[in-house]
Amino acid sequence: MTSTPEPAVRTVPLPPSPASGGDGGRSQGGTVRPWPLVRHSLALAGRSLTRTRRNPGVLLDALILPVIFLVLFVYLFGGAVAGSTREYLQYLFPGILVLTTVLAGQISTGLSIVTDMKKGVFDRFRSMPVPRAALLIGSVLADAIRYVIAVVVLFGVGYLLGFRVETDLGSALAAAALAIGFGFSLSWLTVLLAVLLRDETMVSTVGFLLPFPLVFGTSMAAPVETMPGWLRAWAEVNPVSHAIEASQGLLLGGPAAGAAGMTLLWGGIFLAVFGTAAVTAYRRLV
């Protein structure tokens, strides 16, 4: 029974595996190297990017959303709100930039983590010496590509429709970077939801609904002065208002530093709170 010749599978000796163990600190052939969290997160982000490259269709929403929002708002409300679509586009664009980066991560990042958690490959990662946080960070990092694509498309379509940056290239890049950073921090909320809910439908529903009060309870589409009192109160405390204000300042001119500082602060808070909560919840899941 043990002596039948081996078909197809050839025996090439592996590096010897020592029968005794317990040194525990190192894997075969590889020493323990510093920064495991960073290296493993990057390696896993590379994996997610390869997957995106092979299924570029998953980026479609990042391509389409900003276009829909621009066209919808400008031509549907432009005439009524600002009297001229050209003028309204100029007012609206900075807000749409923030809307785009917030939405670009919200749904898909959480969704891809739920899908991954249910797949066997995450099981394998979890049986390997990989920090748990790296599994989440890798997915979130890889989704940065979505923000970049969405923002590039947004600027392209905006320019075609007649939007013009009123400041300079440096400020415009700063606006894009700030919006991307803000969306990235806020996406940890959907990561937390993904880890807690572990259900595609729930995560995509919550991830879709959540941004609405955040993004629309702001001066994005109309000045706060035009809003009823309760909405104005919300808009004034809403962190996304700061991001939009900063975006308006950086793209159209006017004061931006204060709002940008508040945006960075809130981004840091989101990252710290939601990020820590997500990783803790994921570790507890074991």
Binding site: A19, G24, S27, G29, V32, R51, R126
Partner: protein, 324 residues
């Protein structure tokens, strides 16, 4: 020698379901421990706890001398796992999968690449190395899975139902590979619902049912434990079957009949077998098969648990001979 795997009183419950009701497992270094049990017996739960993916509720679990609760990271460096379902990324190619796992084991890039190439070669996947794993056949994916669990050169390998879903030829092939790994000194814990598989691969078998170990022994010992050997005689000329039946009948002392040219009868001891061999020679009945057969593990499982393994193991309503 210190056991490579030592589990004592392991308990795990999920809500009201008791997946493991206090099991003990033990494997010496370099041996294959078969954990045999039907669907829902608790095999996967046990493997997940041993592989540090699930925390035990009670009991102690040592893998490679390390406590899985207190020292999970060190355990993860010593083990390899092939889960019950595919644990490679379908979107990545064979090479990309193995290189990624190598990087996660902290191998330098060049070393990760060469180890990936060596493993793909070894598992007959060289031609498919550049294709996404999603395009692989079931057997190829299983082999890639096994290769992936060897990237870290583990001292202890967990295989959860490694051949489920493979056709018999591919199964034999994988068995050879698993044996080869054990011969190289890797300790293997494999779960299976196939009695034949445990018999073919394991040095020792723990039979589990409803979260309990109901027997532990070598394959031969286990078969012995449930007793009842059978003599099998197949005359070269089927026409001589009744003559052979007569010979066996006189030796065992109870009524025996030939079925389709083969005579089978339970025997009390080995002396009866020797008597039969001599009597057949004397009666000039040439045979093509003459064997003393131990009960199959199927029969063993039935004796041990009171229900047939296969009837539980499959959800399809395959009927089973309860009188076996």
């Amino acid at each position: 020698m210190r056991p490579a795997i030592q589990v004592e009183g392991l308990v795990k419950t999920f809500g009201t379901t008791t997946a493991l009701a206090g099991i003990d497992l033990r494997a010496r270094p370099g041996t294959v421990l078969g954990v045999l049990g039907p669907n829902g017996a608790g095999k996967t739960t046990a493997i997940r706890i041993l592989a540090t993916m699930l925390r035990p509720d009670a009991g102690t679990v040592f893998v490679d001398g390390l406590d899985v609760v207190r020292d999970p990271v060190a355990v993860r460096r010593a083990i390899g796992l092939t889960g019950q379902y595919a644990t490679v990324d379908e979107n990545l190619t064979g090479t990309e999968n193995l290189v990624l796992f190598g990087r996660l084991f902290d191998l330098p890039r060049a070393e990760a690449r060469s180890r990936a190439a060596r493993l793909l070669d070894r598992f007959g996947l060289r031609e498919a190395a550049g294709r996404p794993a999603g395009t692989y056949s079931g057997g190829m994916r299983r082999r890639l899975d096994l290769a992936a669990s060897l990237v870290g050169a583990p001292r202890i390998l967990f295989l959860d139902e490694p051949t489920t879903g493979l056709d018999p030829g591919k199964r034999e092939e994988l068995w050879q590979t698993i044996r080869g790994l054990a011969d190289e000194g890797t300790t293997v814990l494999l779960t299976t619902q196939y009695l034949e598989e445990a018999d073919a691969l394991a040095d020792e078998i723990s039979v589990i049912d409803h979260g309990r170990v109901i027997a532990h022994d070598t394959p031969a010992g286990l078969k012995q434990q449930v007793g009842g050997q059978t003599v099998v005689v197949r005359p070269r000329d089927p026409a001589q079957a009744p003559t052979a039946a007569g010979v066996v009948e006189r030796a065992v002392g109870h009524r025996v009949e030939a079925v389709r040219g083969v005579v089978t009868a339970p025997v009390a001891d080995e002396h009866a077998f020797a008597d039969i061999v001599r009597a057949l020679e004397h009666a000039d009945v040439p045979v093509t098969e003459l064997a003393l057969r131990l009960p199959s593990l199927d029969e063993a499982f039935f004796t041990l648990t009171g229900h047939p393994a296969a009837a539980v193991a499959t959800t399809s309503g395959r009927s089973h001979d309860l009188d076996a």
